[in-house]
């Protein structure tokens, strides 16, 4: 059998190359995932895709974000009616902020000093000064506020109310609503384009993303989604993220188990990326090479390569992952 030694050599080469493939070149960051059901935050190393630690936190953790210097995680502990502050070095809860009742989602101002919190049960947006821990304002908005977006210049904040089906534009100086824009049913999330020209608002029941012009404050386009073999009711847009260069948007489609990739110039869906079950929120790694989705029902997160828009890996986290944020290691 002349060919045997050759085959063995090829197999050995395979072993070697296989070993090489196992290492991903991506830079290492830490992803923090809030697990709504088991009251934990899972810390995941994004380079190796391994769970580093699981922290017990307050009840029903949902919205999660990080200070601009990467030192502190802010976490909405919805059923504890508070915002917990987690030190990323020690991974201990070091402080809490007065959030008002049932905080669900929040956004940090571009200067990193102010948190704008949606209080789902009280139909309020609470404005918190992080340093003094003071509540600066409570802004009445529509019923069941959830989505929170802030313009890159920090002057305009957008809140969406799930039941009123509106995007409320709020002036961050006066803390007054300046415009109300009607969108489709159950708006969940608001995301500004990095140049501040547009706000993208997802509507869970409506199954659309409304693109609102920030100058005229009018809906200039509605993005719809269609996946062969799926009922339209299964397509429920939730989390939205736009790349730093403003060219591509990613929309989490809930029980459709897919993340839509949208060209921001044409508003056309370029691709649907298959991820885990009931995909909810999204976060980029700081190098923008990877976007991470939280998959609530399958209890995992999926890493999507931004260059190819291919799903790379899914990692099991806690029960019902809701939000995710990534910080430099």
């Amino acid at each position: 059998m002349q060919k045997r030694p050759t085959s063995v050599a090829i197999m050995l080469a395979t072993v070697f190359c296989g070993g090489l493939l196992g290492t991903r070149p991506a830079e290492a960051f830490m992803a923090y995932v809030s697990n709504e059901k088991d009251n934990t935050v899972t810390v995941v190393d994004t380079a190796s895709g391994t769970v580093v630690k699981t922290l017990p936190v307050g009840q029903r953790p949902r919205g999660i974000t990080i200070s601009h210097d990467g030192k502190f995680i802010y976490l909405c502990a919805s059923d504890d009616d508070t915002i917990e502050v987690i030190d990323t070095e020690t991974l201990q809860i070091v402080d809490t902020l007065p959030s008002g009742p049932d905080p669900e989602l929040f956004v940090l101002s571009p200067d990193g000093k102010t948190l704008y919190v949606a209080n789902e049960d009280d139909n309020l947006v609470t404005v918190i000064d992080i340093e003094s821990r003071d509540v600066l304002a409570e802004i009445p908005v529509g019923v069941e506020p959830e989505g929170m977006g802030i313009s890159p210049d920090g002057k305009t904040m957008v809140n969406t109310s799930e039941t009123t089906n509106m995007a409320h534009f709020i002036d961050t100086d006066s803390h007054e609503i300046t415009h109300n824009v009607l969108v489709d049913s159950r708006p969940r999330f608001a995301e500004f384009k990095p140049d501040g020209s547009e706000v993208w608002v997802s509507a869970e029941i409506g199954g659309t993303v409304s693109v609102i012009d920030n100058a005229s404050r009018e809906v200039k386009h509605k993005i719809t989604f269609e996946i062969a073999g799926l009922r339209s009711e299964a397509i429920q847009p939730v989390g939205v993220r736009i790349t730093a260069d403003g060219k591509k948007a990613y929309v989490a489609l809930g029980p459709a188990n897919r993340v839509a990739v949208v060209d921001t110039a044409t508003y056309k869906v370029e691709k649907y990326v298959l991820v885990g079950q009931r995909v909810w929120q999204l976060a980029f790694t700081p190098d923008q090479k990877t976007i991470i989705s939280t998959n609530g029902v399958s209890n995992d997160i999926t890493f999507i390569d931004v260059a190819s828009d291919e799903p790379v890996q899914s990692v099991t986290v806690g029960a019902m992952p809701w939000g995710v944020v990534v910080s430099p290691k």
Partner: protein, 288 residues
Amino acid sequence: MSIPAQTDAFASHLPRGFGLAQYGACLTGIMLREGLRFLNQRERFISSLVRPLLWLFVFAAGFRQVLGVSIIPPYKTYVLYEVYITPGLAGMILLFSGMQSSLSMVYDREMGNMRTLLVSPFPRWFLLVSKLLAGVAVSVVQVYVFLAIAWFWSVKPPVIGYLLVLPALVLAGMMLCSLGMLLSSMIRQLENFAGIMNFVIFPMYFASSALYPLWRIQESSPLLFHICQANPFTYAVELIRFALYGRIDWASLAVVCGFTVLFLGGAILAYDPAKGLLSRKRDTGGNG
């Protein structure tokens, strides 16, 4: 077959005084014959591709799990059903092709071509291994054409996987071809072959991990799960599946190597005129 004039240093170590060059010429001759036969039978090429493509386009569409197949190694995330069955269909090509090349051996024997091959002064095992490699080479080409078409159907394994799958395909192909060869030694006439095919190909194909993850089978029937686990084709498919995604499944590699040795050894024994089964069938073995 021309024998080059120069003497070969290795000649003295080889039986019957042949040099490596002569062995090479013999191997090339057999491979060329198999290749030519394949090229001349375009319908065979097309039909060998139509079968897995039907499974991919039609069967997988019918079974399409739009919400994704649960994660099992080597997949690191959710995949669609067509992605899952592609390695199984590559295995199917090797399985059918291996059986087809053994079918051709029964045909050769009936037509008398086999005698031409077997009266060659080269050792019998070498002739059989050459025939085997020729069959494997042809089926590996078919698999690559299939994978290329599947790529356009959004089955896109990592690029390196296409390279790494080659040794897995060769090994799995050798196992299945040598099984076919062993079977062909036991078949008296071409007509009997269809029955054996049904008793071998389909059970091997369906009772394997080619079409469904084994955990699913385990859920419905533990007995069937054990049958699938005992099926060498399962390991051929898993070896291909892992290699296509840049990984090695050592258990499958060991099982496939083991069965290749077993089947090939059996076939060599069976075709050995001194001990084999062939001698008993010599009177039915050809009318040419």
